[in-house]
Symmetry: C3
Subunit: 276 residues, 3 copies
């Protein structure tokens, strides 16, 4: 099943929506459309760029698909410059957004599987490389958020996506491990089944998290136990570490970067309104 | 017509002159010649390094041309360490400098054309890649100025060349678009004619801007209209956006980074004297 | 003579020991094991990653050697999470550490020679590229320390390894020059002899420097003279420039980054205790 154009369109829309949620991005788009466009391209194609860098091929390789770039550019234009902010209001409307978020996760899973397969092709026994490339394909721009922010004139060195992983990044890591196990025949399931199951899990989780305006993670309990066993971290610390719990508890004050992908809709709207 | 050694020499001299204009660079050269030399190499060969990175080949590829590197190193040594600052005073003398600046623009145009041609060779239909590579070949070190400054211990995250483009960067972008149109036969002129015309335009503009100590841009009126139509920016904002007008009006206080390539001679001399 | 596993093990242990000496790294390991692991991998394999980047091949290429990665990961786990901090106390015990440091220098010399040879294979006359690749292979993570620190949420833009070179970085540069001269047959010695001599010099120097808790450099006198002749720097400035003298004089207050590799044991212990 081809991803283009329906699924990819959803991916671009949600990605650029997250760019618009970033404080100050609307102002950057008005003052310097070029910088905003480059950031939008990083949001949409960051995973391809990073994977190409990690595998030593041409980082702008994906930019040969002119139609994909034009589609993403059109989405960028509509999200930032549509009269009356109409397009933004439509796609940020919760029911529409939930559908788009689910479609985005479909693309993410496919990308992880493709990344692992691609790395397997280049390094037959390099299962660490497979995990790295799958992870990078799933996480995309998040892994280079420091440099993407730098393009917009923002510099927050005190945190980054590896230091404090958000749910999609963590899930990409676990997904990359699963797909690597499948690719090396250590996991006795077919790739199709694994893609289906992982897509289901990701779509459900993200839709629930988005609907609940939560920035928690379903992994919190297991991680807490594993970290306790392996690294001797105290058992209760899991929740503080991940700045929130999966239940919609009263939201504690959080750092502005951490919450990038998992910010509640309400907070986001307020933020982007301020930015405008 | 070969660019080496006359045109390239002019390119190196003007590039390293701009490095010396940077506040603090003379002190860095005295305290840490290695860092200063690396910066000088980035100023001279940044466009090759960046284009090689973007096309996925070896970033130090150009360093195989030992004679070019040695010539640029000699220029670096003379500009920074010549007794009595004699070499610097000669090449920074306005009439000499204007000739060198004109020669530099000849090299820049050739680089843009070569970059577009190179990318066309690798990606026949990838006109976006052609524009990117041509742009990068024309802009050179400006696009990585944040990291070049970091080498000298300076960090200015609040701005970068994409966020606030200077005239040479903008001209490189427009030039890359023109040469891409020519390469894909959408612009019905021969490459020779286009190179001649674009060189003439660039040399004239830069010489006038340098002679007038101006940091404006001839594109300001057209850009202001296009931005108004496309992005709804207010019409008058063009001039403020670009921190100056093409007429030699009384110079407003400008940010130290913005004015890197277009700073008036007077200000520059004062600055570099302070730095010494 | 194969470097794996004895010499490589020593290399990993000393490298990750230096990571633990970094202020705040123990806390990062507890709060975000993933970031700490990535940093540890950069400390162990940074030289391969950088050399691959500079030669345009796949940066994660070395990660195909699963056993090396697993060994380094085991060392990382033992250094940071061993019960009672037992492993750390053993390897940081001075006599053990001196042996490990000597073994590490054996690996460093081999890496420089291999880097120069590799670059010579790709660029027969590119002796500048040979020096660059040999230098990068010898210096490793030091050259990307700014970005390695960024991973741990630390940002110190005011300095970097090129701006203020430590002894191992300088020695790598001089070693790379020597091996390049040998590879291009300008230095009439066999490669074996050169490797032996350089290893002896590096091991002796580093062991003496580590035993004396000194962060000086044996090159200080020669460098002071050369800099005076070439760059007109005042003769006495060598010692201030390099923040210390080779004799165990009363240690002056030094910048926290400069002393990374050459910090005295005592200061280090205090620092890492504070961090814990």
């Amino acid at each position: 099943m081809g991803m283009f154009p329906v699924f990819d369109l959803a991916y671009y829309i949600v990605s650029i929506l997250y760019l618009k949620y970033e404080p100050g991005s609307a102002e950057v788009a008005r003052k310097s459309p070029a910088a905003s466009w480059v950031c939008a391209m990083l949001y949409c194609f960051g995973s391809y760029i990073l994977a190409d860098i990690f595998l030593g091929s041409c980082p702008v390789d994906y930019f040969q698909y002119n139609s994909h770039i034009l589609l993403a550019s059109a989405v960028w234009y509509l999200v930032f410059f549509c009269p009356l902010n109409l397009f933004y209001k439509c796609v940020a409307f919760m029911p529409v957004k939930l559908v788009l978020v689910a479609l985005k996760e479909v693309v993410r899973t496919r990308k992880i599987a493709a990344g692992v397969h691609h790395a397997h092709h280049a390094y037959h026994n390099g299962w660490i490389i497979m995990i790295i490339v799958g992870y990078v394909k799933g996480s995309g721009v998040a892994l280079m958020s420091n440099f993407e922010q730098l393009l917009r004139g923002v510099w927050r060195p005190e945190t980054n996506e590896i230091l404090s992983m958000s749910f999609p990044t963590k899930a990409s890591l676990y997904g990359a491990i699963l797909f690597t196990l499948q690719e090396t025949h250590l996991l006795p399931v077919s790739k199709c089944t694994l893609i289906c199951l992982f897509t289901l899990f990701m779509a459900t989780s993200k839709v629930i998290l988005t609907a609940r305006h939560s920035h928690g993670s379903p992994f919190i309990l297991i991680e807490s136990w594993v970290c306790h066993l392996l690294f001797g971290s105290p058992l209760g610390s899991g929740e503080e570490e991940h700045h929130g719990s999966p239940t919609p508890a009263p939201v504690a004050p959080i750092s502005p970067v951490k919450c990038k992908e998992d910010l509640g809709e309400g907070t986001r709207k307020r933020k982007s309104k301020k930015a405008e």
